[in-house]
Amino acid sequence: MGKKILTEKINIPGIREYDVYRQNGGYQSVEKALKEMTPEQLVESVKASGLRGRGGAGFPVGLKWSFIDKKSGKPRHLLVNADESEPGTFKDRYLMEFIPHLLIEGAIVSSFALEANLSYIYIRGEYMFVFKILEKAIKEAYANGWLGKNILGTGYDLDLYVHCGAGAYICGEETAQIESLEGKRGNPRIKPPFPAVSGLWNEPTVVNNVESIASIPWITLNSGEEYAKIGIGRSTGTKLISASGHIKNPGVYEIEMGMTVDEFMNSDEYLGGMIDDRPLKALIPGGSSVQILPPQYIFKTANGEDRLMSYESWADGGPVTGSSLGSGGFIVYNDTACIVRNTWNLSRFYHHESCGQCSPCREGTGWMEKILYRIEHGQGTEEDVDLLWDIQSHIEGNTICPLGDAAAWPVAAAIRHFREEFEYHIRFPEKIKDRNHFREQPMEKVRQLLAK
C-alpha cells in the first residue's frame, strides 16, 4: 500500500458530515496555520513541498502563489478550479462528493496564505449534486466558525462561496473561468496580464485545481519537506489517477509518484489488467488532451527505461514517443477500440467546446472534425490524412488559450502512431461500416490487407 494523503479518510462512514470530519482530525491545519504560521511561512512550505498543479499543466503551486500581487493593496482572491471537464478525468468529483470538508479546509488555509478575504470554488454545472453537497458543507463550516469574520479569534476574515458553471469545457482554463465567474461568456483572456496581477474583477487572483488545494492541509500539518520526501524527483507527493476504459477496475486511485506504469496497470491492487484479457492497444495517460500512446511506449520509454507514474517520465520522448501525465485521466483501450473513431470523437468534443474567439481554433476544430467524420464513415481520401496533419500543425501554438493545442495533439498523436488505421478506413470503406468493426476483426487480423 502506498501512502494516502487525500483519500486516507475518505472511507470513514459519515465523513461527509462536519462532526465526523472534525472528530477525525479535520480543520487542524486551519488552527495551525492561523495561530502559529504567517502567510509567508505557508507559501514557503508549499514551495518546499514541490507540489505541482494537479489540473494538468503541472505548474508549481508555491511559485504561482508567490506571483500574486500583494503590493497594490487590491483585494485578493483564491479561485478553486472544480470545473473538471477533461474527458477521462473524474478525480475532483470523487474528493468533493465524499470528503467536501477537506477541500474547504484547504481553501481556508490557502486563502490565508494568499491573504485573500473572498474566495470561490467554481464547479461545473453538471455536478449540481456535488454543488449542493459543497454548499451544505460550507454552511456547516460557517456555523462552526471556520469561515466568516474573525476566524478563531485571529482577526482573519474569509468568505468562501461555491459558484456553478453551466456546461463549458473552456471554463476550466483559468482566465475563461474568471470571465465566467464574472457572469460573462467563457472567453479566455489574452495574457498578459496574468490573473496573479489582474484576475477576478481585475483584482489579483490565484486559480488552483481542487486536488492541489486538498493537498494543502497535509502539507501544513506535516511540513513541505515531509511532502517532498514522497514521490520521485520533481514529481513530489501523491497523485489521484482516474482510470477508465477497458480495464478490470476503473475508478479513482491515489498513488505515490514514481510507481511503475506496469505495476499500476496490472497489479490487482490497482487497475487489475485488461478487461476480458484482450490485448492492450493504446493508452492516454493524462486526459484526452495529451498524446495517445501505442503499447511499445507505455511500459518503457523509447530508451528502454521503465515508464514511471511521474510528470518527467511520461514526458520522456516529447510528443514523438512520450506524452504527459496531465490531469491523470488514464484511458485504456483494447484491440476492439477504433482509434479513428476515438480521434473523431475527441475532435467532436473540442469542436463542440471551442469558444469561438480566435480563428485557428474556431475554424480548425470544426474542419478537423468534419474530415475525421468522413474518414470514419468511409468517405475519406488518401490526401485527408496529410491535410489533417497540416491543419493541426497550424492550430497548435497559434491560439489564445491551450484549447487549440489540446485539440491538435490527439489528432497528431493518432496519426503519428496509428496511421495504418486511418489508411485501413480510407482503403476499405466497406469493412468499417459497422462502428464496432474491430470487435470482430481487430487490426491484427486485417493488417495484411494493407500490405497488398
Binding site: I190, H352, G356, S359, R362, G366, I371, N398, I400
Partner: protein, 342 residues
Amino acid sequence: MKITIDGHTIEVEPGTTVLQAARMIGGASVPPTMCYYSKLKDCGGKCRCCLVEVTKGSERDPRPMPKLQPSCVTGAQDGMEVLSGNSQRVLDARKAVTEFLLINHPLDCPVCDQAGECNLQDLAMTNKEFTSRFKEQKVTTPSEDIGPYISLNKNRCILCYRCVKLAEQLTPDRVHGVLYRGDHAEISAYIHNSIDSDFSGNMIDVCPVGALTDRTFRFQSRVWFTKKINAHRDCPHCTGKVVLWTFGNDVLRVTARKDEFSEVEDFICNECRFDHKKKEDWVVEGPHKFGKNSVLNINNNALAAPKDVEIQTEKLTLAGRDVDRKKISMRDVPIEQIEENK
C-alpha cells in the same frame, strides 16, 4: 526604448505595442490586422493574422519566445527583436489563418457590397497562389433584420468583435452581441431588435468584411465606380468630417474617413451618415486618397473640380445601364412603356 523589426530599429515610447511600432516602420513589416482597432479599447488578439516571431525578448531577458506572438497585444520591450515580413514561419502562420478565415466564409464577393474595400479580400489577395482545400459543408446562419440602416449578413462575419466593442464604448445601450459558441458563434441581437443609436452606423465602418453594410447603399454601385470626396459639415454631434461616395452629382453613401490602415479617423454620427445625402449639405474639400494599391483609386484621379464633373466613364456606365435595362425588359412590356407610365 529600442525595438528592431525585420532589421529596422526604432525608438518607441513605453506601452507601445509591437504592431504600432511596425506601423511606424511601415512597408512589408506591417502585419495585417482583422480584429485589432486602435480606436477601440481591448480590441484585438483574436484573429491571429498579426502573428510575429520574437527572436529576442528584451535586453533584460534575451530569450526568444517559443510561440508566435500576436503583435497587436504584445507590448514592445527595450531591445526586443522581432521578425514580421522576413520570417517564413510567420508568413506560413498568417497564410494558415487566412485559410481558416475563408473556410466558412461564403466567398460571395461578386454580390457583396464590401468588395473592393474588404480587409479579408485584401488579405486573401496577398496569398495569391492559394487554392482551397476545404471540401466540407460550410456553416451557414440565416440573416437577421437589425433595422433600416444596417444590413447584417452573418455568414460573412469573421467574429472580430469590433462592432461589439464599438457598441459598448460608443453607444449607451448595446443591443447586439456574440451569441452561441465555436464555429456557430454569430453576431446577433437575438430577438428582433433594431440597432439604432446615434453612433450605430460606425459599426459599418469598423466591420472588416461585408457582414455589416450600409442598407441605404445596398446594391447601388460598386465602390470603385464611385468618386470619393472629402467633405465636412457643422455637426453638433460629431466632427462632421466624412467621405462622400458620389456618382455623378448623387451622393450614394457617406462614411467616416479612413487612414492607410483602413481605420476610421473620427467616428461620425448617424445623422451625417444617413440623413445628408445631398451635395449641398456638405463643404467639399477635395478627392479622398486611398492607399497606393487600393482598387478604390480607380475613377478617383482626374478630380480637379469636384463640382459638376463629367467624366466619360460615368456617362458610358449610365448609358450601359440603359442598354442593359432594355435588354432584360420583357417583350410584352417594353421599357419605353414603363417609362411613359411613370
